[in-house]
Amino acid sequence: MASTRSAAQRKRARAMARQARYTKPAGPARAEETWADEDEDWDTDASWTGRFPRWPTIAGLIVVGLGLADSAYLTYVHFTSVKNFACPETGIVNCAAVTTSQWSHILGIPVAILGLVFFVGMIPLMLPAAWRSQNPLIRLARLAGSIVGVGMVIWLVYAELFLIRKICIFCTGVHILTFALFVVIAMGTIATSDPEAA
């Protein structure tokens, strides 16, 4: 086959060989460089934006912040005096009756403190790094925490309505925020999960 090549073809092949020997092979190198650049882009925020939306972090931190403030107030009142409650005592609403009831403790621990610990524990799990992480332990801990929290809320709502028969508006605030956190975590876990993960 080589013998069938024309002189012009042979000349052009030799010229290209010389060029390849003394110059940078621009074509392939550029292509490789371009891929490399794009590989970097693949891990940058621009690539991750679609898969890791910011809303779980923002919504989660807002809800946790509000829950932390509310449960901190309930803990403060618990350790000082129910007289410090800025809560009306009209009709079914009576914060002090709820927070001093026998159902205000679980295993001897005040529910107000349990709420505070819950929201403090949720802070690191709401950070962007935690949402980005595909570590199943982190994702499971966040989900399990919110399920335990919402389970506790159902029990406390039952206790308020049927055992104590009084409503504490600050406790109800914590209940709503715990439920909101459950919604954020449930939907956020789906939104940030790896669709290709088995």
Partner: protein
């Protein structure tokens, strides 16, 4: 020798892009990331021309290939399943809470516990009274003198009219069975009065389960009798645990209550014109969650914060009773040379 002209595009391969031209990878539409760096590396173009172009296409799998479409379909299916699961869980919580509220609104209010139907009066065992009586007067005096006024509320000195102008000086108590502060205050009162006489007919009750410091364990003075040669004790329990009327104060008693306690708060204790106090004198939280027997045991042991608070409060009451009785009996009042007041 084979034709080695690499610049000629081979049939069936992707043309080599122009020099310096940027190759556009076919990224998955879902933003899918290659599962591992090695995978990406394995797909990376080789420097050899023909192979380079041939391998460039599969290294970023296109959305169009059947395997990718299958993977995307699986991912979408999985996401749909997760969304349904999460939505179902959220909906379940909403439904459970809604059902609880509906039950409460439509009839849950009719459910009353035995505690709220009325007083759960049970006679107090003599052993409990004996335990309280075992606390010495000197212990009460020491506790009352040790506590600072800022830690406890002590009775306020008064210069009022005696309840009973003739006969023995009278100690007036106005409270209610449902009242948690009255429940708190009855413990030091029983302890203090046991130094001057003997109780009979005391019953064990708890405060309202729906008020603050719910279901605080305590005594009821209703239908009890206090026998003493030094003073007369007149308790008035105005309402039951369920807040039904029980005893009505006399006009004279109401006048005294109104004079010293314009808000008519309870408990109100009047030391025959010498002193009075309104409300609980120590923190009701200290009794929280304790059974009647546990409180009695705590008081007898004298080691807990609850016990020291009750001792101090009882000591202050004893000192003001001594003021009423002009220091009688001496065996008790010798520990209290003067009344302990705020």
């Amino acid at each position: 020798m084979a034709n080695t002209d690499d610049n000629q595009p081979q049939r069936g391969t992707t043309p080599v892009p122009p020099r310096g031209g940027k190759r556009t990878p076919n990224r998955p539409s879902s933003g899918g990331r290659p599962s591992s760096a090695s995978n990406r590396g394995g797909q990376r173009a080789t420097p050899t021309g023909g192979n380079r172009t041939a391998q460039a296409t599969p290294r970023r799998p296109g959305a169009g290939s059947p395997s990718d479409r299958r993977r995307q379909a699986l991912a979408q299916q999985r996401r749909r399943r997760q969304t349904l699961l999460a939505g179902g869980a959220i909906g379940l919580v909403i439904v459970v809470v809604a059902v609880l509220v509906i039950i409460k609104v439509t009839g849950g209010n009719n459910n009353t516990t035995s505690a709220t139907k009325g007083s759960t009066n049970q006679p107090v065992a003599a052993s409990v009274i004996n335990k309280l009586s075992s606390v010495s007067t000197s212990q009460l005096a020491a506790a009352a003198n040790n506590f600072k006024a800022s830690q406890l509320t002590y009775p306020t000195a008064a210069n009022g009219a005696p309840v009973n102008k003739t006969g023995k000086p009278e100690l007036l108590y106005i409270g209610a069975e449902y009242c948690p502060y009255c429940a708190t205050e009855r413990w030091p009162m029983v302890l203090a009065l046991s130094k001057f006489g003997h109780f009979s007919g005391l019953t064990n009750i708890h405060s309202s389960p729906t008020d603050v410091y719910a279901s605080t364990q305590t005594f009821s003075f209703y239908k009890s009798t206090f026998t003493s040669q030094y003073l007369k004790f007149t308790p008035v329990e105005t309402e039951t645990v369920a807040q039904k009327p029980l005893q009505k104060p006399t006009a004279a008693q109401t006048a005294i209550l109104t004079k010293y306690d314009s808000g008519q708060s309870i408990p109100f204790v009047y030391f025959n014109g010498k002193a009075y106090f309104v409300g609980a004198q120590y923190n009701p939280q200290l009794l929280h969650g304790k059974s009647f027997q546990e409180i009695a045991n705590d008081i007898a042991a004298g080691k807990s914060t609850l016990a020291s608070n009750i001792y101090a409060n009882a000591g202050a009451i004893v000192s003001n009773i001594c003021k009423m009785t002009d220091g009688k009996p001496g065996s008790v009042c010798k520990y209290f040379p003067k009344p302990i007041n705020s």
